[in-house]
Amino acid sequence: MLSEIGSLVLRVYLIRALWTALYAHNPAPPNLPLHAIITYSTVALLLSLIFEVDGTRQLREKLRLGTIATDLLKPISIPGFLFSDGLGMTLLHAMTVIPSLLIALLLVHVDRPATAGAAAAFLAAFALGYAVNFLLNFCMNCVAFWTLETFALQLVVRWLSDLLSGAIIPLAFFPGAFQSVLLHLPFAAVYSTPLLIYLGLLRGQQIGHALLEQAAWLLAFAAVAALAWNRGRDRVVVQGG
């Protein structure tokens, strides 16, 4: 907890120092004044405190240790269990978001959501992003059914998705064609969409489209996750004792 807050203070400080220096000597990009980019980066940082809780990591441990065998005998849905357990961990973790936000507010000014409508849409987009992120993590951990050791792979995917989801920098900073592709990848559904709604950069109909796209990714990943889970469960090989 204390180490999280310590690293958060440094990161918020870094956000302020970096963007202030960048905006001091360069023309501001359209629609993105300094206070907007600082809000974007700080809210992204707070979202990452929630998104980085990976309840499905237990699946990998269960597969490695072989305890999955007894879990499969129980009359429960394991994916459902992982989701509820992850949600519980997230809620506990969300408690750290409040002191973190207060500390962040001492260092930077964070704008409020653009409008009341934007705030409501942000919450909806955040919930959808949370579900997409859960399913993405779940699929990654299902890889352990086949290879057992997935730690390095997971970190690689985590870093790439941080970059491609707009968690580090807004996707608008990527060059033209690449940017249009990124905006429609599932990674964008996790960070970029809620954040753009928060800042009021998506409005009216655009919000509806963005939410629909998130929902579409949610369904697609749910299908992949169900397939991976069923295939994986059928070939459980418990190693050793």
Binding site: L2, L18, T20, A21, A24, F174
Partner: protein, 261 residues
């Protein structure tokens, strides 16, 4: 004896070839994401306190050389707080060899992949940033890398020693790691005065890459750089900090009482 320890480690590594490729992909992804984020940012904002992307790439490459060399040889010092917490540190004390030597040679999964990548990236960045490769450069770079290794080593040794007294040093480790890995990506001149002084003269990470880069790229720095060739003092700063850290470590070892667990 050092050679023997390294021979054993090399043989162990060769036993896990598949792991090597996995960790190599991991290393490339980590640095690739960092450099791509810098690239995309500077594509939109061409000047960061007077530094362009080419110069930032060189700044990153210098840090990467020192950091990866340190990790290859001394990574396990970062585990000392864990050994102290778990009470496994005591076994190093009863064996008839130098404690630091034993810790440095604990078998671990540190491959030379990061260093190899650092050398390639440094070669590229030197060309890309139009750095003049003369005899001063060829002579100075190995010494600056040595200085960088000693600075990294000194700080991790101090954190390890502090854990003798304050068993749990996670927060300190996080803060130090974040300063070393994230704050070194940008010119130190973007920070406020307190942080600049911290980076230059308390945990002297600025000597790993910022001051040497100021020298090689002929940049001007406001406030901290007393003389343009300050960066060439990196090995001296590293040596001083390491000497101090080692003395502190010896004191800590004599006072070490264990956690009783």
């Amino acid at each position: 004896m050092v050679a023997q320890a390294w021979r054993i480690r090399l043989l162990t590594m060769l036993e896990y070839k598949a792991n090597f490729f996995m960790w190599f992909a991991f290393t490339i992804a980590y640095h690739g994401v960092a450099v791509a984020a810098l690239g995309a940012t500077l594509y939109n904002f061409p000047s960061l306190a007077g530094w362009d992307f080419r110069e930032i790439a060189f700044l990153y490459a210098l840090w990467m050389l020192g950091h990866s060399t340190h990790n290859l040889f001394f990574f396990s010092i970062g585990d000392v707080p864990v050994y102290v917490q778990e009470g496994t540190f005591d076994r190093f004390l009863v064996r008839p060899r130098d404690v630091l030597f034993q810790i440095v040679t604990v078998p671990n999964q540190q491959w030379p992949d990061e260093l190899a990548l650092a050398i390639v990236w440094f070669g590229f960045a030197t060309w890309y940033a139009h750095v003049a490769v003369d005899w001063v450069f060829l002579l100075a770079v190995p010494l600056i890398v040595l200085g960088g290794v000693l600075i990294d080593l000194a700080v991790s040794l101090m954190v390890a020693t502090i854990s003798f007294w304050f068993v749990r040093v996670d927060t300190l480790r996080w803060v130090v790691m974040s300063l070393e890995q994230e704050f070194t990506r940008y010119p130190v001149s973007i920070y406020t005065r307190g942080v600049r002084i911290l980076m230059a003269y308390v945990l002297p990470y600025a000597f790993m890459n910022y001051f040497p880069a100021v020298y090689f790229l002929h940049k001007s720095d406001q406030g901290l750089t007393v003389v343009p060739w300050l960066g060439l003092l990196a090995p001296l700063v590293g040596g001083l900090w390491f000497t101090a850290a080692y003395a502190f470590w010896r004191v800590g070892l004599n006072r070490y009482q264990g956690t009783g667990s």
